[in-house]
Amino acid sequence: MAEHTAPGPDDPGGLDEREPVITPSGRPRRRRRRLLGLVVPALLVTVWALASAAGWVSPRLLPSPGRVVEAGWAFVAGGGGATLPGVTPFDGAAGRHVGASVGRWLVAFALAVAVGVPLGAAIGLSRRTAELLDPLVQALRSIPITAWLPIALVWFGLGEGAARYLVFVGALFPIVIATADGASRVPRALVDGAVMLGTRRRDLGRKVYLPAALPAIVTGLRLGLTLGWMSVIVGELTGTTSGVGAMMWAAREVGRLDHIIVGMATFALVGLTGDLILRAAARPFVAWSDR
């Protein structure tokens, strides 16, 4: 084909000289923002340390940061010899507990994704399905996760099955709702455009609906992952002997607040890591929707 009359955008005689906005690298600003996010936690820990050192709070109600750090080190590296009631170890048991919690979290989350994404897509794409299922989904998602505990124990008995079921329920509804929302908001013009370009109807789901709805689905997955992780501690009320939640319940029985705080910090750290991994994995597919 011959060179066309339209010069390039850099050509002053061409089209659109005022052309596109090239986003400059935001790395230094991003680093500064991240550091800014550490300011408030650092301040809180300082106040906590000062309050403990000055004796303003009883160590039975709130152990000092140093005591918690020691317990945390013992949890990871062992050496203190502490064992909690029942058959739940503490010292050197971080790997075992975190592994058990993460294992039941990921299995239940994967199941929630396998059920939630197709269910959400069906609700988002079909008005009839939405009329049929949406009221039920909205009602079920209003039930607190702790309210599912008794029925989980009846259905699955004490232990692993009930724990996984509770994590599954915790993760499921955000995934369903975000996927339904994302699928229903795919612009009609994109679908029409794809058809007018010759895309076969059976390929529209994979080629148009899925990529267009993916940012919303990823948001649902992130919420589901976090809420699923938050449900782990409820799941570990069901008589499991391993898991961060099981360790915390055992620590509560002997009043070891330092162990409980270590468990809470572990929950925060693992939850944050999971979210970061999910975001990093999803980023290549949804970066186009960044503002």
Binding site: M1, H4, P7, G14, L15
Partner: protein, 260 residues
């Protein structure tokens, strides 16, 4: 009228097809929008459709694109009845429908890829040159300006070498300066790839600069109240805007639109 084969500069054969609309009617509930629209567009002709706001210009184009079904009437392309949306008569609307998650190159290759053509990448490269966007092949649509996106959206549908192209106020969101450049670009592009075009616009100047035929729709429920050839000559560009005959014609047409 029979299809008229034409050869593009790149050696790709495109076939512009005539378009016939007879007695087209369309209502939405109790609101009748179109009431017996008749329109004939010869192969390779650009028909500019003008009309007052809300008269059903976009509805007409959606019917021609096969995105909606008429209540009554017929649409034929090259003598064949229209059957739903297809790459043979795509529509480009004001908000360019590029796929936002794909690079510009992948957007341009979409049509040929959907048709499982082996030359999809070559076609995309050719269209990048035609749009003057070779430096932006890997850019996402959101990284392009409005004018660049519109050019890319038109090029995207031309990748399938459609005999008929439907444009629904494609440059309506652009500023006057960019719009004028886009007119020149589109005229050049269509000169190389003769295509039957129906251009819906509210801009009289745009209609006169791009159209070979002017179809004027009346108020809703509308029909074509005037269809005439624009005999202003093939070479139309920014200099044309200063031509007293063009200015006079523009005023005449504007008065007819207002009177309709």
């Amino acid at each position: 009228m029979s299809p008229s084969p034409v050869r593009s500069a790149g050696g790709l054969t495109a076939v512009a097809t005539d378009l016939e609309v007879r007695g087209l009617r369309k209502s939405y509930g109790a609101v009748q929008v179109l009431d017996g629209v008749d329109l004939s567009v010869a192969a390779g002709e650009v028909a500019a459709v003008l009309g007052p706001s809300g008269c059903g210009k976009s509805t007409l184009l959606r019917l021609l694109a096969g995105l909606e079904e008429p209540d009554d009437g017929t649409i034929t392309l090259g003598g064949e009845p229209l059957r739903g949306p297809s790459p043979t008569h795509p529509m480009v609307a004001q908000g360019a429908t590029l796929f936002p998650w794909l690079s510009l190159r992948d957007n341009l290759a979409w049509g040929p890829s959907a048709a499982r053509r082996s030359d999809a990448d070559a076609v995309a490269d050719e269209l990048l040159v035609a749009t003057g966007l070779t430096g932006f092949a890997d850019a996402l649509p959101r990284q392009l300006s409005g004018g660049m996106r519109q050019r890319a959206a038109i090029a995207q549908v031309l990748a399938n070498r459609p005999p008929v192209l439907l444009l629904d106020e494609p440059f309506g969101a652009l500023d006057a300066q960019t719009r004028l450049r886009m007119h020149e670009w589109l005229r050049g592009l269509l000169a190389e790839r003769p295509t039957t075009v129906v251009l819906v616009t509210h801009d009289v100047e745009e209609a006169l600069l791009l159209g070979d035929r002017l179809a004027l729709l009346g108020r809703r429920p509308s029909r074509v109240i005037e269809s005439s050839r624009i005999s202003f000559g093939a070479e139309r560009g920014r200099a044309t805007l200063r031509d007293p005959r063009f200015v006079e014609l523009k005023v005449q047409v504007l008065e007819r639109v207002l009177a309709s």
